[in-house]
Symmetry: D2
Subunit: 186 residues, 4 copies
Amino acid sequence: MGRVAVVYDSLSGNTQKMAELVAEGARRVEGIEVRVVNIAEPDAAEVACRADGIALGSPTNLGVMSWRMKQFWDEKMGPYWMQLDGKIACAFSSAGAWGGGSEITCQALNTVLMNFGFLTFGLTDYVSKTASAHYGAIAVREPREEEVKEACRKLGERLAEWVGAYIDRNPDLHPLVREPGRKRPS
Amino acid sequence: MGRVAVVYDSLSGNTQKMAELVAEGARRVEGIEVRVVNIAEPDAAEVACRADGIALGSPTNLGVMSWRMKQFWDEKMGPYWMQLDGKIACAFSSAGAWGGGSEITCQALNTVLMNFGFLTFGLTDYVSKTASAHYGAIAVREPREEEVKEACRKLGERLAEWVGAYIDRNPDLHPLVREPGRKRPS
Amino acid sequence: MGRVAVVYDSLSGNTQKMAELVAEGARRVEGIEVRVVNIAEPDAAEVACRADGIALGSPTNLGVMSWRMKQFWDEKMGPYWMQLDGKIACAFSSAGAWGGGSEITCQALNTVLMNFGFLTFGLTDYVSKTASAHYGAIAVREPREEEVKEACRKLGERLAEWVGAYIDRNPDLHPLVREPGRKRPS
Amino acid sequence: MGRVAVVYDSLSGNTQKMAELVAEGARRVEGIEVRVVNIAEPDAAEVACRADGIALGSPTNLGVMSWRMKQFWDEKMGPYWMQLDGKIACAFSSAGAWGGGSEITCQALNTVLMNFGFLTFGLTDYVSKTASAHYGAIAVREPREEEVKEACRKLGERLAEWVGAYIDRNPDLHPLVREPGRKRPS
């Protein structure tokens, strides 16, 4: 049974709300165990390492992840480097404003994940006419708008699909099989 | 008299509308000449090179600038490399969706500009409670919401301020002098 | 049988030499078909779409891929968007100098690939005491130094391993199985 | 008299050696005061804020700056946000390997600096046939090769030139005036 971990840091609670939505989406996929863990919890690194796929979320602070998230990877995850290759990963981030750096923060999170050997991905799909998560899910402050929430959920769902299809070797969970008619909204 | 050029590519007309707003903002600053030029125009490279500061705008296509914009820099601007150091620059981009890559496209535009020796900048200011342009101005499709429009204008205004303060050597145009009470909206 | 395509643009021939090395590395993995294709060839998009994994290489031009490579994705690959999700991909680039933008170009290539739904990866491994390809393989001009060449080969090998392990569902090809004692050189 | 601060974090001493070279280069420009400060020093934020231009250096850790450098900006520099607009800045970083993320780390440092309103720049010039610092100066481990050292020095020199030309309003310090014959090595 594939395991997904949603691993996050949150100062205001906004990124935590995104984490819960990402987990909600991952649970849409049958046969996947989903855990949500704050990096301040003592077993966060262990949960992250045991998972087959992780969604990594941080507040956007100055267009980069929070220093606590960076410290988590430098110090807590560091010892596991070279042992995690081939796990699957994606990113999400909440910023103070549109244009405030949430995409660039997702890119920095993906950079860290790639360094650790994760296969990183974004959503191709639009979740509405005006929302996507091509390089990770983003929100401004609390995720309130339905399209922002659904981008988080869809990201988690896709993560669970990749874990199911590639780590659990269940080809029926590949998104091109599960959702054959996917299209960009006109 | 300082010169600002707003240099853009546009397929759907959305980035062009942003360009006009950026120019409108630049005109808020006294004593600055403002030109708007589409890269398809025959004198676009000449206008860009003659300017003291440029705002560079491209549609977001796959999280990178349009191939036409890249070709413009590779082929039309290339001959001027090493002659433009110290000009001031910023970026803007319209994407199909929030989370669709507009910030990352601005980052790629800034990368090209930095390669050419431009001093690149973003807005510190929020233009509303939920909009900024920290790494360039972004829009989803056509810039319609007032905060999106104002982020474009404010970016152009800031560009004109830097050109005035640093190239024209008019310290009264430094934004910390012009707008001493700037604050982040609560 | 898994298929790897090495898809590249090259002006000076340097990126082409990298492409051949990447292909050489991919051939180290048993049971994987390897194709090398220049984007100027008429069937390049078809080869890329038929592959289970691609290594994408471009010259570093201004810290972004060449305009031809961007045009290839905008125009030739565009029609296949939403049909390629879940393929596996990595990047490589040759620049004019160290510090000349080859890593940032790999990042831009990875951004395009991520937009298309590819799972993107880099090498965790060092291939020598002073060479890696954490975010893609890089070279300065022609790949001549053995460590630069081996970074290209190793990237191709890793790509073939992921294609074998995940697309062909052969767990023996997972790098943690194939090379259990991998370590960072001291 | 213009002030340049070289602000750095260093674990192994390698980034510190780069910092000293950057400072050495800045001292080539007449009339510029140069300070070097480790972010662990109690007055580091004060030195950074008082400067007209800063060169910011961090070890490359996972393709992003060290968590200590991020914490410095989040916590020590945070209170000065919106007061530093228009200062001039650049980045440098030492990684464990070529292809190990030093350019991407410089990009992350530039992102933080841009968020704070700094005008960020790189070197157009090549310092040798195979070395540049287009987006910041990079080194693998200790800066030992003469071209790597000179890239650091040249970055500091350029920073001092921009501070002199734009903040001190001394047009003779503009690099196009100081070095009129600059060319790319063939």
